[in-house]
Amino acid sequence: MMSIRNLHARVDDKPILKGINLEISAGEIHAIMGPNGSGKSTLSSVLAGRDEYEVTNGEVIYQDQNLLELEPEERAWAGLFLSFQYPVEIPGVKNVYLLKAAVNAVREHRGLPELKAADFLKLVREKLKIMQMSESFLHRNVNEGFSGGEKKRNEILQMQLLEPKLALLDETDSGLDVDALRIVGEGINLMRTPDRSVLLVTHYQRLLDIVKPDFVHVLIDGQIKLSGDFSLAQRLEKEGYEGIELA
């Protein structure tokens, strides 16, 4: 699905990613853990195409394409989805406009017919139910005045509508209470299929208890220092990152 090779990136001349290597195959869930400032969010931003990061070395091959050459919207058309750590508020644009425009833009580039209003609304209502969101969210402005938990649920709602092939979830668990964490976690689990992969960035094990990863990687100072299975996340929860750095 995606192959990250020796990826280096910097922001304002400050190197952040210093040689990331990672292989993600179809159907796999990978978790990236690591201390603050290790480059976790930078990795997902670079993969989604945020332009304030400069890639200085390395490559990312996504489904036989050079991912780094694509515009952010082209990445979305190709099946990449980023759930933002801090979802952006857009006062003046109703959520439902964004959702419908996004769904049909992605469908168009996948060779699918445009969803008509009635079909779209039927679909979006189904997904709202899964995310336990009321219909009023459709008519509120994008993320404006949403609580932290509502914003994250809105991100997963978008993911469900856009049906990506590879989802990058950047600290989707941060700022969630126990109930919201369960709803978001189960929302992600519903998306698990043999041909869909997830790269999940998190600080804590608690989301991983719901969304069981196949692989766990520890990112420290811009490099993956250690990889393992779910037991690595459990070890980190007990020992912290310091033990890893010493190892």
Partner: protein, 399 residues
């Protein structure tokens, strides 16, 4: 001889001599320094002619088909009271252009909304012909406890040469009275539109203005509001969408003369092409105006490298117990917001249109009259490059 001088007779020129010597709008006068006055000062203006039309209109400096509704009395300037005459004289003395407006005024209408009446008046400002200039004044009395909704619209008939339309609106809101004033300026591409709004508000009176500028080559709106008694309040919302080589200018001055008065102002300027927009918002809180509250928010969105805005919020406070806030931003489209939309598969062009729409939409949503709100919205979508996606979305999913 060019400019407004051409319109004055010899004796008028003599009486307006001071004004003309002060000069018509020029870069030397602070409040006019950004206004491109070349067309105004170089055109050989002629007095405007008047044509027959339906509805309450202003054309060629004359009002026609005066509103005949219950609760409204109309008469001519002979019925003005001494306070109104003094206020008009005061307006005329402000600067060269206002003196010319006074000297060239051809029609003065008095509209009186009687005590406790509730009325709506629709005024259409018709386009003057090529090189024609029209000057008129309307004096509005909103009686005690009366409610007036004034909707001011413009005919946007195409013109190939400059035309000038000037209107002074003098308003007196009595105790417990309320005036809502909605301006939707869509004048033709060559129009020079001048509007002078002077409002005095009494105890527990309210004046709400919603002013929307899309049209005209040049539009200048001067708004002066005096909160003269306790619990008088005003709310002013403005949106100017400036494109091509248009110039939109709003000068606003709110005076809190007495305690327990409130004002709130929200303005948005969206400027593209070689357009230029000026916003000057001055709030004065006098020493006696304790416990007054004012807030001002001005947003400016620049969409091209050649677009220009001149925002100037001013707050002058002499009282020590007031609540005052003001904020002013100037910027281009937010990169973070653009990235968010693009990461959802929305292309750059549509994403930009979305954000431009969003910037202006807040001011459109606040328009209470549903029909006018629809008109403004469709004009806004038409002005946006690639607003089709939003139009389509609005039609399809507004359930």
């Amino acid at each position: 001889m060019n400019g407004l001088h051409t319109l004055l007779t010899k004796s008028e020129r003599y009486s307006a001599k001071d004004a003309l010597q002060k000069g018509l709008p020029s870069k030397q006068v602070e409040s006019w320094k950004y206004l491109p006055s070349r067309t105004l000062n170089k055109t050989k203006w002629v007095s405007a002619s008047h044509r027959e039309s339906a509805g309450f209109v202003l054309h060629g400096g004359r009002f026609a088909n005066l509103p005949l509704c219950d609760g409204v009395n109309t008469s001519t300037n002979s019925s003005l009271n001494s306070a109104e005459i003094a206020r008009l004289a005061n307006l005329a003395s402000a600067h060269g252009f206002s003196s010319a407006q006074d000297a060239l005024n051809t029609d003065c209408l008095l509209l009186e909304v009687i005590k406790l009446a509730e009325v709506r008046i629709d005024l259409c400002r018709l386009a003057n012909d090529a090189k024609e200039a029209g000057f008129a004044t309307v004096v509005i009395r909103v009686g005690e406890g009366a409610k007036l909704l004034l909707i001011e619209q413009f005919e946007d008939a195409p013109r190939s040469q400059p035309n000038l339309d000037s209107l002074r609106i003098l308003v007196d809101v009595s105790r417990n009275g309320e005036m809502k004033h909605l301006r939707f300026q869509t004048a033709n591409d060559h129009a020079q539109v001048f509007t002078e709004i002077d409002v005095d508000i009494s105890e527990n009176g309210h004046y709400n203005l919603h002013t929307i500028d899309f049209g005209a080559k040049l539009s200048r709106t001067n708004i002066e509001i005096k909160l003269s008694a306790e619990q008088a309040s005003t709310k002013i919302n403005g949106l100017a969408v400036t494109n091509g080589s248009q110039y939109h200018d709003t000068h606003l001055a709110v005076e809190h003369r007495i305690g327990d008065t409130q004002s709130a102002m929200t303005f948005r300027n969206m400027v593209d092409g070689k357009g230029e927009a000026t916003f000057n918002g001055r709030v004065l809180i006098e020493k006696e105006a304790q416990r007054s509250a004012t807030k001002q928010s001005v947003g400016n969105l620049l969409l091209s490298k050649t677009a220009r805005v001149n925002p100037k919020p001013e707050l002058e406070i002499y009282a020590d117990d007031v609540t005052a806030s003001h904020g002013c931003t100037v910027g281009s489209l937010n990169r973070n917001e653009l990235f968010y939309l693009k990461s959802r598969g929305i292309n750059e062009t549509d994403a930009r249109a979305f954000l431009q729409y969003a910037f202006a939409a807040k001011l459109v949503e606040l328009i209470e009259d549903a029909d006018i709100r629809e008109l403004v919205e469709s004009r806004l979508l038409g002005e946006l490059k690639h607003g089709e996606l939003i139009s389509e979305l609005k039609e399809s999913v507004n359930v």
